[in-house]
Amino acid sequence: MSLRERWGKLRALFAGRAGLDDLREEIDTHLAMEIEDAGHTGTNPHEIRKRFGNRTAIGESAYNAWTFETVESFAQDVHYALRGMWRNPVPAGTALLSVALSIGALTVVFTAIKPVLIEPLPYRHPEELVQFRTEYPRFPEQPRGDWMSWENAQEAGRRSRTLEAVAIYRNAFADLASESGDPPEALYGARVTSNLFPLLGVAPMLGRNILPEEDQPGRPDVIVLSHGLWVRRFHSDPGIVGRVLTVNGRASTVIGVMSAEFDFPMRRTAVRTPSPYVDFWAPLEVARGGGHSAVARLKPGVTMAQARQDIGSIGESLAAEFPATNSDRVLQLNFLHDRVAGNARSSLLLLLGASVLFLLIGCSNVANLLLARGHDRQKEIALRLALGAGPKRILRQMMTESCALAVLGGLAGYLLSVMAWRILPALSPAGIPRLASARSDMTVLFFAMALSVLNGVFFGIVPALRAVRTGGGNANGFGSRGVAGGHDRTRSLLVIAEVSLTVMLVVLGGQLLGAFSRLMATDPGFDADRIVASVILPSADRYRDPERRDEFYRKILESVRNLPDVESAGTVDALPFSGENTGALVSAVETSSAREADAEVDVTGGEYLQTMGLRLIEGRYFQPEEMKPSNESAIVSALLASQLWPGSSAIGRRICLNCRPGNAPMWKRVVGVVSDAKHSALNEREKGAVYLAAGAMERAAFVVARTRRSAGDLEQAIRRAVAATDPNQAVFLVAPLRSFITDSVADRRFVMILVFITGCLALVMSAAGVYAVTSYSTSRRTAEIGIRMAIGATPQQVHALIFRQGFGSAALGMAIGLVLASASLRLLRSFLPGLEQSHAAHAWIAAGLVTIAAAGACWLPARKAIRVDPVSALRHE
């Protein structure tokens, strides 16, 4: 816009109504002149007026043309764009669908990433919050969770110069007694030190925080309820604060209710709980040992590096002062925000990468279609340039068109993502915190729209520039149908890009799918399909006495075993895939060279090993009297036996658990060897196991039962059996053991499904793209084909020619894609578990799929080409 234009527009804006009045006067004069003129020919003035048009409307449209030319021309461009799409529904529909799918896919992933990785934690100054972690440098496998012993957390808080406060918490389970008709309910919650809520900067929605004196022993019990529990169990009773509940058989006063947004700890450490969210917070009294976690807040002005150094040196001095408990470990500090997402971070980033690739495929698809359309419009553009429309104006119109397409497609994509997130929360693994709360909102809409516009500019710029350049360069835009147009090069470049990206995505999807199916096919070592596991934690206070616990579990085990269809039953303190585990260092002290191995140590009762289907390899299973508290019998897994006594029998050998200076040694004697089983994950490193029977009934937390019928039928029977033993005892959970395994891979399955869907869509989309390009360039070559056939080319020759030319670029793209895919797989393997051993077969299957799709997409247009009648083809021009 020139300066003068700007000034003119500005002046007109200030001139206001005077301009409109001026126009009215001018138009009235005009009409008067016309009537006067017509007077000579004798035409009826009424007829003149009618033909003249509505004077007000004319004046206003002229006035608006002056003031809002940009807006008007923009509206006109949009109008043109929409009309253009309406007239060519097939290519426009394909382009719209491509944009909608690719924007939709990226928006779906963005919706997931936003709450999990981007949004700050809902606490005060979340950037200052840090999480402690303990690592064991000498152990080959580090803990999954961020654990910290009570003593170390206390010491860190006392000694640190960089941390403002250290709060400690641990998982807690509680049962709420039956009350006014509601059955007893098992709750998952957290025991927290009184400084946790102030440290996070949160306060209850109703009531008050836990007071400092309330986490001291000997105080009356208090409890803070989660919003969910308050709504579900107490029907949002506003007078709940002050009410006394029976929790774990003791009177506990409700002191507060947290708001719906509050959730802590977000990252669940227990895999299966009755509710995926924390239901309550209760004071953590002075405790000892492991199983705790700790968070802290950095002092103002302290950097993470300073705090890490501080905690590292505190860890070193603790190791020097308390070698018995600390010599094997180091203390670490991480940002709480980074730890909340846990391993989900890399999975989500992988998803993001896949959807960006998908977007690029969509982009090249649309660019190709626009390029083709631009070609068809050369006539129109040449005419307009000839009439004096500036190239800028044409460029703007072309860009408006591609942006209109992008925005329409983007809106559709946004709607697709909204619909997808109607379904996805149900599939979201609970292990990824905050994922289930992912929803489309204004930010997501803004993201989708910004992406669309960017997309529109990106895929619109090349075709637009090309249209202006060719339109201006040769005024005879007409009939420039070459034999093989020069623009075909750009188009085949786009096809190559599109196909190579698709190969990458499909190969990646295939690898993930392959890795996942291999993982699922891994034998856990036990027969998960016919085993039902239930979590029954005897209420800590009513069963404080070990003998009473023993008696209680004995009764439950007995009644479960006597249920119809139950073949055998047993108990254990840490069930595989339940999230519970107890590691220990096992030493075989009798051999000349003292061998050591770390192993899982589980206390089993009843016929646990038989029920789980662990085969006896040597020796015998436990006998019932070995469940007494003082008993030194142990059964080891085959792997542990081969680690400790390679080549010789394990029976009768003595082992020592956690024999370290300062520890009370625990001696056991091996009576049997059983087959190996996985404990915490299907892809865990091979690790031996020690099974003990001593004190099994006191320490039991899980009951397993092998059933002849389907697992579902047994659930009610087990619940009834427990209720018959103690009507106030809540049953945490009854579920088939298979579901525990399925849950342990839920994150991976979620990501795998999404990447797989993306790969399939990419395949369809690029096939459609290749098809569109091939059939377009074929249709442009109708005349050429006609000539070829007229001078004697056989249909087979024409078919081969068309097919070869289309498939050539696809094949090149495929080759590039395979190279890219193998490079990216090498990169991904380093941070994505499960891709370690990739099978070339999956890559070949994936590449084969792309080949078939591309070949089909080139074959069909070639088939159509040979049906061309030479005579009509020549007339085609």
Partner: protein
């Protein structure tokens, strides 16, 4: 703008056409809106009829681009009317548009010519 004889077969409106015609009508002397419309009709031998709903916005656009200016004057038959006149920029634009249009038409005619070279 539409062709007179076959309203059913109207040409798709192409931006810029009317503007060039207006510029041409002002090449010889300033004129008012009625005069411009009459000029185009007469010159095109009534092939074109100018719709006022298009003429007035067109005039405004040209003014905005600085190609024409307007002034109230008294017409020869003593009527006050708004006269439009070409500016230097407008004259230049008319020359450019005319030469481009000629090239366009010649290219068209060459292609559409009955004899093939």
């Amino acid at each position: 703008m539409s062709t007179v004889d076959s309203p059913s077969d109207r040409l798709e409106f192409l931006q810029g056409t009317l503007e060039v015609l207006i510029l041409r009508s002002l090449q010889i002397a300033p004129n008012h809106a009625f005069g411009i419309a009459k000029f185009i009709e007469r010159q095109s031998e009534a092939e074109f009829s100018v719709d006022n709903g298009t003429l007035y916005p067109g005039l405004q656009r040209l003014m905005q681009r600085g190609w024409i200016t307007s002034q109230w004057k008294t017409s020869p038959n003593a009527r006050r009317a708004k006269y439009y006149r070409l500016t230097a920029d407008g004259r230049k634009q008319l020359l450019t548009a005319t030469s481009r249009w000629r090239r366009f038409v010649e290219a068209m005619s060459r292609v559409l010519a009955p004899e093939v070279k």
